[in-house]
Amino acid sequence: MTTKKFMMVNRKAPYGTIYAWEALEVVLIAAAFEQDVSLAFLDDGVYQLKKGHNTKAIETKAFEKTWGALEDYDITKLYVAQESLAERGLTADDLAVPVEVLSRAEIGKLMEEQDVILSF
């Protein structure tokens, strides 16, 4: 099968809306199709990666386990915007999985290399 470079751009906070969760379902399918998948987290999208989500009281499924499982799908390219973290008082240590913290400009350059950009 043709392999293309797919980037999923996540700019929305988790739980307030379902976009982040349904985006993750697309990521897993893209990996199953053996595409070259990367994820970019900008703006409120960085909140998706925060560790320690406890969704018991709001009765929805939490992300943390799925982030951990991404490696099993060979998805290792998670890019997080440094500026977005800093603006929200977060650092890489606050995140549930290892990521590459990059400047927005660096993420912008990676966007230019993609074949398909899906945004949620």
Binding site: Y15, G16, T17, I18, I58, E59, T60, K61
Partner: protein, 130 residues
């Protein structure tokens, strides 16, 4: 005290529908009365019995139906918003020449006047939306 609740977003897509449900439960637990819960905009999509959420997820629609049944709640779906979005009961099916219904138990379809009436009759009207 008499509460009414307005739900403006559909199930799963926005947390508004979850928040409204948790709020409604807490209102009842506190011993208050719920005069009416009104579903408007995409909120009407809370009222379709055709959803099949993943087994490990909450069933938002049946949760509303159950809450209504157990507490004798009045769950009203706005007819104009429902027509735009395809939420149909027997009466709407016949009136609009449709071939199926999808309204879940415990909900009824009625006019926007029911929202205004809820505002008039209730001590508090709380809006959940996007």
């Amino acid at each position: 005290m008499k509460f009414s609740i307005l739900v403006n977003e559909g199930p799963y897509t926005h947390e508004a529908s979850d928040t409204a449900y948790q709020f409604a439960k807490a209102v009842l637990a506190k011993g208050h009365e719920i005069f009416r819960i009104f579903f408007y905009h995409d909120g009407v999509n809370n009222a379709t019995r055709l959803t099949t959420p993943p087994q490990d997820d909450r069933n938002i629609v049946s949760r509303w139906s159950k809450l209504a049944q157990e507490n004798n709640l009045d769950l009203v779906v706005c007819v104009a918003a429902a027509q735009r979005r395809g939420i149909v009961d027997e009466g709407e099916m016949k009136r609009n020449g449709k071939d199926a219904t999808n309204l879940a138990p415990g909900f009824r379809i009625s006019g926007l006047g029911q929202l205004i009436e809820a505002g008039i009759q209730s001590d508090r009207l709380v809006v959940f939306g996007d």
